[in-house]
Symmetry: C2
Subunit: 276 residues, 2 copies
Amino acid sequence: MYMHVTAPTQYVEANGIRFAHRRFGKETGVPLLFMQHFRGGMDNWDPAITDGFAKGRPVILFNNAGVASSSGETPSTIEAMAEYAADFVNALGLSQVDLLGFSIGGYVAQALSLQRPKLVRCLMLVGTGPRGGEPTTDSLQRARTLPEGGLEDFLYLFFSPSASSQAAGRAFWERRHLRKNDVDPPSSPQTMKAQAAAFTEWLQARGERFSELKGITQPALVVNGNRDIMIPTINSFTLSQHIPNAQLIIYPDSGHGSLFQYPDLFLFHARKFLDG
Amino acid sequence: MYMHVTAPTQYVEANGIRFAHRRFGKETGVPLLFMQHFRGGMDNWDPAITDGFAKGRPVILFNNAGVASSSGETPSTIEAMAEYAADFVNALGLSQVDLLGFSIGGYVAQALSLQRPKLVRCLMLVGTGPRGGEPTTDSLQRARTLPEGGLEDFLYLFFSPSASSQAAGRAFWERRHLRKNDVDPPSSPQTMKAQAAAFTEWLQARGERFSELKGITQPALVVNGNRDIMIPTINSFTLSQHIPNAQLIIYPDSGHGSLFQYPDLFLFHARKFLDG
């Protein structure tokens, strides 16, 4: 059976885009589609998490339009990214998926759940926030977001300053680099620029602030670290207050990448959520 | 083996108080001490929860000074209640306990953890808040808190208005009345008055708001419903932001009594937390 490190990159074409993706795990069940953070591609996921989920369900990683090994241009709004994601899911012939949206991928997961409610069974929103949410006040965060991220950037941006969180960050970094063959190229400057524009646009409320979250009728699990300097943790609380059927879990001594700090605990909670 | 419905009420004397208590469950392991809500006694716990925990550890229910079947007067500060609780634990000869503090019992659990840090291994804070937290704005809540609570009051105060939450409330009410023999008398007007005074005093910050929470060094699990009209849910978020090692879980479509609405899910999360 394929796993995170061995699953071959495959391609499917839809709406003029050649979508790179990898599928592994159990053959039957509702597939879990992973939606990645700013600049990230398929290789930026944690094998501890992807393989952990794959034991119980099909797992699908993909690069959205323009990202890394997918063709095309990355659009500059979250809603357009969600449309491309729907094209991709349809091209795979899937009638329903679960979503794990991390960071900007959590924005796309929300937009997709609103645009195609029947396509999404459950969604997990990790290290993310609502449209019109609270922006970060961390100036160093802003300075470090755009350059190509190395270990030190990830340790600062995704983990807390404590020794144990930093050690968990280094362990994540090793797992994240276990795959050596058939890896993604980095995302292009066009993708970074378009994602940054979409990120900024998402900070603007439309109409009554947070009112659109009432339309997310799927069960939602909202997860974050208690000290997220990328998308402040209060945004996760806000999501859980406005999405009608949302459970919130906040982990201690952790930041934006809490799922990579506590992969086993996150899997424990997330599988319970998905399996009901 | 004794269970919630069959465990006999026992008494132990300390500091001039005859403390009513019941112990059941596994003989070995760190006992889990339950700290009850405003006006409540041992019979106000949910057997689904107490018996659920009892499968894996000793469970101890007790009435603090003056409450229900315990003798003495109820003091009018949270800190004095915590001192009495420490007297009770010492009188049982226990060197360490875990705490499940619900509502005002969560205030007492925080105070006890600060006063006797070595006595407390882990604490669970459910439907509660920090000293100096946000008061309720629900006027109907305030009007209904003081009278002796019947089913309709519990359904309004502890559950959400949805049909499924109200149904869960009625199921809780049935479980809560399964014990027919050797039950507590209701708490006295003196207890209600003293607890109300302690509750009001707890709303006043001392020094820098929330700064004392840094002193709670034990692992903490903070739990609430997403619509708590007794102690607003934002207070649970605040606890998790200021207690150094706190995990937060907020359940959907639920209120102050979220643990009674989702006893199985709460047990699933709480046992994972306690067992590490």
